[in-house]
Each structure stands twice: as structure tokens, then as C-alpha cells.
């Protein structure tokens, strides 16, 4: 757990809207992520968590600061950083099998690693659905395919941008379990963006709490509850309370109305 996979230092990113108003999405972000870690970024919308993930994915560039993957500067998208979006990322004209095999095919490794596709189909529990098209499977299944499609490239980092944001809470819990299993199985380092506090606690080793305008990391929380975690456990709830307070979402206790 000690070797650093990702190192982000002094990263800032400002967007300009149509009227040339500056929107400071990220200001002076610094963090490191170790190999095999599961890290979550949580915060209200506009805190720059997605921007940060896109920078790490290489889909956007910072105005200042550095992003290093194993000491090498990140520039441009690369299959060593898998990227999963909230929904609609699958190719509708390809079957489940072909969606998962896409990465292998474009890199000309499909013939050699055909067995990997079968392995990931099994890992995400979609045996028998290989020939189905994305519209024929449920939203939860589609997200599992999206995750498998990124993992098959054996990425150093799996970047998950609210992959469960559009799912109902039953399916979400199911995918969270699956994600932990895949994390264990593949040993990939995972970075998740979410606005769901429970999801963050259930999955993460560390939680980065972010605040908006400008987007900054306010607090880093280590989750030391051992796996498997109980979603209704006492330690779970005490951590939940801490995070909600950090996010300023816990409503204040009513003050006693009397004075001495």
C-alpha cells in the first residue's frame, strides 16, 4: 500500500463561460493515491470532483500544476486509466461481448486475449447475455458492462464518475458489492466520484471531502472499518455523521431556548 500510483500537485483548472466569467473548478489540488487503494471524492455539485477525474483521465488539461502517474506526466487519454461515466457510455450498436472486447480490438489484442472477455463477462455475472445489446439489459447490467469494458485493459487506475448515479438504491447496492469484488479480484486502484455518503463509506479506503467555489479538498478521511462492511453498522453511522458535518449537511441541533 505504500507505492504511490498517482501524484497530483498544485493543480488548478478554471473554466470560462459564454460571458467570459471565470468559474474556478479546482484550486491548488494536491493528493497522492497508493497502489490498490479505493479512493472516493465526495462533495456537492460544482466542487470540481468530476473535473479532477477528467484531468486524471487525460480528457482535460490543468492550467497549472502536475498530474503524475508512476512519476510520468499524464497527457491525453490512455487505456491505462479506465474511465466509466454515469450512463450512456456503452456503444448501442455493439453487443455486450463486443462492448467489453472493444479495448482489446482497437489495440489489436483481441485474438490473444479472447479468454479475458469471457472472464470479465463471468466476473460481472452476465453469462448468457453476451449477445444482448445495451438496450436489452437493465441499467445496472449496463453499468457493470461499462466497468468490465474499462477493466479489461488492465488499467493502473479505474476512474468512476458517478457510475451508480442513475440507478435505484437496490441496483446501486448490488453494483457496490460487485465493485468491491472486482477491486479485490483485479487489484486495480480505483477512484470514485460520488455524492452519496453511504456509497463512499461502504467502498473507500479514503474519502476526500471537497467544497465548491473554488473546488478544494477540505478534508481527508480514512475509513478503517474492515470489509465486509455493514451498511447499518454503528461505526458506519458515526463516520456518516462526521462526513455530513464536514459537508455541512447535518442539520444543527436545536439550541435550548432558555437562558440563565
Amino acid at each position: 500500500m505504500s507505492d504511490v500510483v498517482l501524484e497530483v500537485s498544485g493543480v488548478s483548472r478554471t473554466y470560462y463561460d459564454d460571458k467570459k466569467n471565470a468559474v474556478e473548478a479546482l484550486r491548488d489540488i494536491g493528493l497522492t493515491v497508493s497502489r490498490g487503494e479505493f479512493v472516493t471524492f465526495i462533495g456537492s455539485s460544482g466542487c470540481g470532483k468530476t473535473t479532477l477525474l477528467r484531468l486524471i483521465a487525460g480528457l482535460d488539461e490543468p492550467q497549472s500544476g502536475k498530474l503524475l502517474l508512476y512519476g510520468m506526466e499524464i497527457s491525453g487519454a490512455n487505456p491505462n486509466r479506465g474511465y466509466v461515466v454515469q450512463q450512456g457510455g456503452l456503444f448501442p450498436w455493439l453487443s455486450v461481448w463486443d462492448n467489453i472486447a472493444y479495448g482489446l480490438k482497437v489495440r489489436g489484442q483481441y485474438r490473444k486475449h479472447k479468454a479475458d472477455v469471457a472472464k470479465y463477462v463471468r466476473l460481472i455475472g452476465l453469462e448468457g447475455f453476451e449477445k444482448s445489446f445495451p438496450h436489452q439489459i437493465s441499467g445496472g447490467m449496463a453499468q457493470r458492462v461499462a466497468i468490465a469494458r474499462a477493466l479489461i485493459n488492465e488499467p493502473e487506475l479505474l476512474l468512476l464518475d458517478e457510475p451508480m448515479g442513475a440507478l435505484d438504491s437496490f441496483t446501486r447496492a448490488d453494483i457496490q458489492d460487485k465493485l468491491l469484488e472486482l477491486h479485490r479480484e483485479s487489484g486495480a486502484t480505483m477512484l470514485l466520484v460520488t455524492h452519496d455518503v453511504d456509497e463512499a463509506i461502504f467502498l473507500s479506503d479514503r474519502i476526500f471531502i471537497m467544497t465548491p467555489r473554488p473546488g478544494k479538498i477540505k478534508h481527508i478521511l480514512r475509513v478503517s472499518i474492515p470489509h465486509p462492511r455493514h451498511r447499518g453498522g454503528v461505526d458506519f453511522f458515526s463516520l456518516r455523521r462526521d462526513i455530513l458535518e464536514q459537508l455541512e449537511l447535518a442539520s444543527a441541533m436545536p439550541q435550548p431556548e432558555y437562558k440563565i
Binding site: 480528457l59 487519454a77 490512455n78 487505456p79 474511465y83 450498436w93 482497437v106 438496450h135 474499462a150 485493459n153
Partner: protein, 236 residues
């Protein structure tokens, strides 16, 4: 037969006579030939130009502002010329290319010059509608730009590319009729020579039937093909 001296019904009946169809049969083949070749040229160059436009777009895969602006400007110029003006304008170009300025082949230069920019714009607007997420997903899985074009942009837009191509073929067809006035032959030529200059309205009617039938067939095929793909992906 002319409407000037024969009742409408008689002219309509006469338009189905064998001798009328003998007259227009070669013209129908000329029209089909012109439409097929010009559509093919439009498809190839329009598709290429449309893809180049989207790829070199400032937000595209390979932003090339100079090229994008220049080709956009050229397309707008070509698009602003009415079809007839384009035909007249292309006469000297056709003379350079084919050695003569009339006939079926030279007129295809004008048809292509008119329809390629139109189809390029249709292709461009179809591709621009693709969600950025899909392109980014493809990028993050290691696709090269060419692979993104071939494996993502084209399959994703295939239904609308086919529908756009249907529109383009019909535009080509209507332009072949206009080109008939300038020595291209075909059904348009028949309509002018017999229907307009000699008042042989039965021949004119026959030409109209042919055009209506052709457009119906083209539209049906285009709709059928794009619907099949859409149904397979369950997008409707």
C-alpha cells in the same frame, strides 16, 4: 397528344401507350445512370468532407482551425449558388475534364459540385450530435482518431447518414432533370423537348410518372434501411 386539343383523360390514357414509353425509355436509363453515378460521387466526397469538417472542428478530434474555416467557407459559397447557375458555371470545367460541355457525363460535374457540399453539411450535423461521452470512452480505451471515426462516429450515425443520403439522392435526381435543359439528356430533357416545346403532354406525363416512382422507391429504401438499424438498436 396535347392538352390544347385533347381532353385530359385522353392524354392520361395516351401517356401509357407503348410508343410514348419507347421514346422515354432511353431517357429513363440516362437519368438512372446520372443519378447513380452522381449519388455515388456525392456519397464518397460528401462523407469525406463531412467527416473532415467534424474532425477539424475546434472541439473535434484534431482541431485545425484554418482548414475548418476554409472548407466551411468554400462549402457555403458552393451552397449559395442556385442549381441552374451552378450548371452554367460548371460548363467550362466540364469542357476541361471531358472535352465537351454537354451530355450526361459533363453535367455530373455540376451535380456533384452542388450536392457534395449539401451532403457534407448533413454528415457534419449528424456527427456533431454524438454525445461526447462516447467519444471520450473510446479514447480512454486506447482508440486512435481513425478508429474513433470508423468504429464510433460512423456506426453511431449510420441511421441518420442513410436518411441524409436519401435526401441527397433525391436532390441529385431533381438536379438531373434540371440538367436535362442543358444537354444532359434524361427525363428532364424529355419533359422540356416534348412537354414544353412540342406540347406532347402524354410524353410529359409519362416522365412525371417515372420521376414520382423513382423518388418513392428511393425514399422507401432509405427509410427501410435506417429503420432496420434503429430497430436493431431499439432507439425508437
Amino acid at each position: 397528344m396535347s392538352l390544347l386539343d385533347t381532353p385530359l383523360w385522353e392524354v392520361v390514357k395516351g401517356s401509357f401507350a407503348a410508343e410514348v414509353w419507347d421514346k422515354i425509355a432511353p431517357a429513363v436509363f440516362e437519368t438512372l445512370y446520372m443519378t447513380a453515378i452522381a449519388s455515388l460521387i456525392t456519397l464518397v466526397f460528401g462523407l469525406a468532407l463531412g467527416i473532415l469538417l467534424t474532425v477539424t472542428n475546434p472541439d473535434g478530434l484534431l482541431p485545425l482551425k484554418m482548414f475548418y474555416n476554409l472548407s466551411g467557407w468554400l462549402i457555403n459559397i458552393l451552397r449559395s449558388l442556385p442549381q441552374m447557375v451552378m450548371i452554367i458555371l460548371m460548363i467550362p470545367v466540364a469542357r476541361v475534364l471531358f472535352g465537351k460541355s454537354y451530355g450526361t457525363n459533363p453535367c455530373m460535374v455540376a451535380i456533384a459540385a452542388c450536392c457534395i457540399p449539401m451532403y457534407a453539411r448533413i454528415v457534419e450535423s449528424s456527427i456533431l450530435e454524438i454525445s461526447k461521452g462516447k467519444i471520450e470512452a473510446a479514447k480512454s480505451m486506447g482508440s486512435t482518431n481513425t478508429q474513433i471515426i470508423v468504429r464510433v462516429l460512423l456506426p453511431e450515425t449510420l441511421p441518420s447518414l442513410i436518411r441524409g443520403f436519401t435526401v441527397a439522392i433525391i436532390a441529385v435526381l431533381s438536379m438531373t432533370a434540371l440538367a436535362g435543359m442543358f444537354g444532359a439528356g434524361g427525363v428532364g430533357d424529355i419533359a422540356v423537348r416534348f412537354g414544353y416545346q412540342r406540347f406532347q403532354h402524354d410524353v410529359l406525363f409519362a416522365a412525371v410518372y417515372v420521376l414520382i416512382a423513382l423518388v418513392q422507391i428511393i425514399q422507401f429504401c432509405g427509410n427501410f434501411a435506417s429503420k432496420r438499424i434503429i430497430k436493431k438498436r431499439n432507439l425508437i
